[in-house]
Every structure is written in structure tokens, then in C-alpha cells.
Symmetry: C2
Subunit: 362 residues, 2 copies
């Protein structure tokens, strides 16, 4: 990402989130190419960016559809013209949600995640006659939602018994988020999905879609088992991906632009805190984010409106008023705090994108 004069006219007051469009476009193309070369369908998770303009680019580059986490996100992207949506979440279908599911299914191909036979029965009753496909969620080792692979047949059968089509199986190998863990997680992902496909096959049910993937594991996805990946973070990348080795600094497309407002000793205080960056900080992270161009710096504390940045002895100390770019630990969290993203192209401000699905958690 180029060093820019963020104090120039056309940029808002700090702190704000800035997207380097060229880097983002390169990230989008690289993942699309990787998926195509591996023979995998790409269904990016739009929860990372929540921006219709970015979804449009993903689809134009060949994505088969979008993944979303909530009905609210699905509605935003359907409004934006996306006609193939996968709600990868074990939805609890209240009557209000059933009506929304029905409305969505009438204007987009809609897939919904499920991880129990009970959920299949409830969804089937709720959207009876609606054109909704289900994808059975498998726990591949992250131990969050998802059934065991050998239970997949029962869940799928319950879906069929209740008038729902079964599109296939999916998993989220979130336990790949740790140093040195992604290869093993990708292996478990493939093993769990393979077992789930076998479970369905034994019951005479075809698993058309076999979907996995996260940004760390996408490069390790086993194309002998999977036929779809759902990475999200790759659009922008973040400090976690840099520290995990999933990407390099040059692949970071989103930063929080922040001003030095105070300093003491070798610490400087930036005006971007957890209300801009998010507070995600896994135990293996070096701090509360990273500073672009000063990889030796460490964010040793985050308050709501302050980042405390330790600058090593040998480095020049930024001064009050200097503007730095902070790479958030978890870009999905940072984006979800912002109403808009400031776009930079060819070294100049190039408008803003509304984070249209921000805060739509239900």
C-alpha cells in the first residue's frame, strides 16, 4: 500500500478505515485464480466486507455466489442483485424469520446451513413449499456448531423428509487460526467432509456441494474432497493473516488511518482504539494490531480511543500529528465498526463505500 498524504483534502479526519483498491483487486483476482486452477468453486464470505461493490467484483471474477452469516446480510446482498446466497449459519427459524426466508428464496437461490435433524424438521415446517436448499454443517474440529460427520445422513434425511432439498455439506475449519495449525486443520476439514459425504452416500443421498475453506486454509484445501471454498478475510487480509503467514504485508488492503495524539518515552498514542480496530487479540498475536511500514512496532494496549504503540529504540519516533496506518488484527471486526470505507486508487482518494450490511446481526 502506497504511503499517502492522508492529511490532504479529500480524506476525512482520522481515524477512518482505508481500502487500497489496487491491493484489494489483486487479492480478489488471486483467490479467484487459485480456486479456478484448483477446480474449486469460490463462494466468498461477505461478512468480512459487507459491501455490495466488493461483492459485485467477487461475482464478476467468477464467484458462484456469496456466503453470508445472517438473514440481514443476505437481504442486503439480494437487494444489490446477488442471486445465489448461502446462509452458513444454524438459523433458529421464528415465524418472522420464516417470512424473511421465504421472501429471500423468491428472489435468489438460497441455501441455509443446518446441523441437527430437529433443525431440519423445523426449517422444513417453517418454509414448507419454499425453494430452500439445505447444506449440512459438519464439525471438523473447531467444535462450535456442526454435527459429527457420521451424523450427516440423519440430518440430511430429516431435511428430505420435511420437503427440503439437500445441496451438500460444509464445515468451517476455524481451528486453523493458530501458528502452524492451518495444514492440520485443512487435513481435518477434508477428512470430516469426506466422512460426511460417505455418510450421505450410504443413505443414498448425493452431496453435490462439499464446501470448506477459510482464508488460512484456502491454499491447503483438498480439491480431491472439496469442490467449494468460502474464504472471507482474503479480500483485505489483516494482522492475524500476516502473523499466521497466510499473506505478506503487501497483501494488506485495509488499514485504519490514525494520528499520533500523544507520546511518552518510546510509546506513542494513536487515535484509533478498539472502537475502530476491534478488540480481537488471540493469545498468539503480538499485540492489538500492527503498524504498516513499522513491523518492529508493537501495539501494547488498546483502549476505546487509544492505541499505545511501542516504538523500538533504534527507530525514529513518530511525532504528534504524524499519521500512521494500523493493520487491524481481525478485519471483519474492524469493518463492522465503520459506516463507510474510504477508497484509495492511484494514490488519491476515490470515494467511499457504504458498509451496507454493518451491524445486521439477525
Amino acid at each position: 500500500m502506497d504511503q499517502l498524504n492522508f492529511a490532504a483534502p479529500g480524506f476525512p479526519s482520522t481515524p477512518f478505515l482505508c481500502v487500497d483498491a489496487a491491493t484489494m483487486d489483486r487479492n480478489l483476482a488471486a483467490m479467484a485464480d487459485r480456486a479456478a486452477m484448483a477446480g474449486l468453486s469460490l463462494r466468498p464470505h461477505a461478512k468480512t466486507h459487507k459491501v455490495p461493490e466488493i461483492a459485485g467484483r467477487q461475482l464478476a471474477l467468477g464467484a458462484v455466489g456469496l456466503t453470508v452469516a445472517t438473514l440481514g446480510e443476505a437481504e442486503v446482498f439480494a437487494d444489490a442483485g446477488c442471486t445465489d446466497l448461502f446462509l452458513a449459519y444454524p438459523l433458529w427459524v421464528t415465524p418472522a424469520r420464516a417470512a424473511r426466508v421465504g421472501a429471500l428464496a423468491s428472489r435468489a437461490a438460497l441455501r441455509i446451513g443446518l446441523d441437527s435433524a430437529d433443525a431440519a424438521r423445523e426449517l422444513g415446517r417453517a418454509v414448507a413449499g419454499g425453494d430452500v436448499q439445505v447444506v449440512v454443517e459438519i464439525d471438523s474440529g473447531h467444535h462450535r456448531s456442526g454435527c459429527r460427520p457420521e451424523e450427516a445422513d440423519a440430518v440430511a434425511q430429516a431435511a428430505l423428509d420435511n420437503g427440503l432439498a439437500v445441496a451438500g455439506v460444509f464445515t468451517f475449519p476455524g481451528h486453523g487460526y493458530g501458528p502452524g495449525k492451518r495444514r492440520a486443520a485443512a487435513g481435518q476439514e477434508a477428512a470430516a467432509l469426506s466422512a460426511a459425504v460417505a455418510s450421505l452416500a450410504a443413505a443414498g443421498i448425493a452431496a453435490g456441494t462439499v464446501s470448506g475453506g477459510s482464508t488460512p486454509t484456502a491454499a491447503e484445501a483438498d480439491a480431491g474432497v472439496l469442490n467449494e471454498i468460502r474464504p472471507g478475510v482474503y479480500v483485505f487480509n489483516d494482522a492475524q493473516q500476516v502473523e499466521l503467514g497466510t499473506c505478506g504485508w503487501d497483501d494488506v488492503a485495509l488499514t485504519a488511518v490514525a494520528t499520533v495524539v500523544s507520546s511518552a518515552g518510546r510509546n506513542v498514542i494513536l487515535d484509533a482504539g478498539s472502537k475502530v480496530l476491534g478488540a480481537d487479540q488471540p493469545a498468539w498475536a503480538t499485540g492489538g494490531g500492527r503498524i504498516l511500514g513499522i513491523p518492529e512496532a508493537r501495539i501494547t494496549a488498546l483502549s476505546e480511543h487509544h492505541a499505545t504503540v511501542a516504538i523500538p529504540e533504534r527507530m525514529p519516533l513518530p511525532r504528534r500529528g504524524d499519521i500512521l496506518q494500523v493493520v487491524p488484527n481481525h478485519v471483519c471486526a474492524a469493518v463492522n465498526l465503520a459506516d463507510e470505507l474510504v477508497v484509495v486508487r492511484d494514490g488519491a482518494p476515490a470515494g467511499t463505500w457504504a458498509v451496507a450490511a454493518r451491524g445486521l446481526n439477525s
Copy 2:
């Protein structure tokens, strides 16, 4: 907080943030009474709630004005009619911000924090002739922003030399956020403020306002030194305050209302994750938040849209579709993720409050 039927008409789909108005009103009155009995002015930090309706109640109960963290927050509360605002932040005054400061100062008594002589000179030049008072920020041990107590005179003198009035001194004893730390932090707060007042007095400068306080230290505030406190979280309280012993469960006025969407063994998965609760989790916390009414439960993991809740063996296991109330670890972060708060009064939904200053970080 009463057990309510959150599936009833009038409530939105989960997850959402819910305010128990009676509990909140009790919290507001208790802090107002405590401050009045101690002879302390109360200037609540509005960054916690960001809601004009709540600010109005605080002022009606005798608050001398509001504390805010950003110019954007100040503008929202000035729009709502607040005429006395303290921006407790070491603002970097760009020309754009100078214009906003001037506009604010023309419609409200405006105080701004400062922690260096350079900052005083810059602010003085930027708002020359404007009616802005400065409050010198002191580091009392939190080691974030703030000058050393013995430097307070130089900062104050630079302010005076540059045409600014000096209202006094302030500190934020944020290092009181830890088990067993609040009393010591309150002691350091009083010592640092006392030394800063002495520094000003030796230079012939009166410190009219001597301001400290956070929710954990508010009850320990030394009224022999301080004459103002600025707690914020007390409005709602949160899991951190419960775990620090600052409040009891009955004092929790805000929860995230969430549905059980999946379960495995003794774990249930709720549909409120870090995009609803925030990801704040100090090392001493028991988990990613607490469950109201099930104090033995532990939130062992938070994803963006999932909370993994471990239910002890002897407890009844919540079932899919059951609705639980999650007490966020840090309520300021949770509120800043929501566009509105659902208000409950007399056991029934009583409208919503817009989080009017949400996301206004600059």
C-alpha cells in the same frame, strides 16, 4: 432484571441489546446520590451509552455536564441540548477540527483535554479567541495519555500563554480495572491529582476542577482531593464490573438477548458473538461475557456470530430456541456495535433508543 418473554411480539429478532429501564434508572440515581453525598460533581462519560435520552436523565439528576471522547460525540450531545461538554481526549487539532471546536464552543461550554505544552500552543493557535477551556491530563499510573503531575504547570502555563483558560486537571485511573486494584488506583489517582494541583498552585494557577473517576474507582474517589468524577459504565454495568465486584448482578441494566441455535454435549451455541458483544476479554475475565441467571455458565469462545457457552453438569441444559441474556464483558464496546437499544419497562417492550453517537470516532 426480570425474566421476560423475548419471543413475544414487540421484540425484534435476536440478537439485540436490551436495556432494563428500571435498573438503569436505579444506577443513575445511585451514582448521582453518591456524588452528591460526597460533595463531588458528576460529569458522566457518555461514550458508554451514546444515547441522548440517557444523557438527559443524567443531567436531570444533577450531572454538571457530560464527558465525551470525540468531537463527533460532543456534536451529538450538543445537538441534543447539552450545554456543558468536556472532551477528555488529547485532540490533534487539524483545521477541520478547529472549525468544529469553534462551532461547538459557540453553543456549549466546552472543555478540552491536553497533555503537553505543544498541544496547548497548537490548540491556542487553532481556536484563537474562541471560548475554550482546557483541562490538563495527568497520568496517574495507567500510562496511556497524560503528563506527569509535576509537568502540569508547564502545560497549563502554555495554555494561558496561548489565550486559553485553564479549568483544572483530570486523570483516568484505568489501571483500576483489575481484581483488587481499584483501591490502589484510586489512591494513585488522588496522589497524582494532588501533585498536579500543587504544581499549578506553585505557578500561581488555580485548578478549579480536579477530575477523576472511572466506574471501578468512583466509590473510592478521594473527595479531599477530587471535586469531580467521570464514570461511564455505571449506567448499565457489565460482566467486568460484576467480576471486579464493583456491582452485583441486580445492577446489570443491559444484556444481549440471544437464542440457542445449536448444542453439543454440555455446550450450547448462542447467536450473539463478538459482533454483538464485542471481543474485549481481559486476562482475568472468566470468559467472553456472562449469562444472566446462570452465573455458573462460562462463555468459552466467541466467534463473530457464535458464543460457545459451557453449562455445568448439574444445571438444566438450555435447548435450541431458548432465549438467554448475555452480559457483555465491556458494555461500551457492545453499545458501539448496535444502532439501537431495545428498552424494557414494567416487563414489556417500551420502544427503542437510537445509539445516536455510534461509531463517531473522530
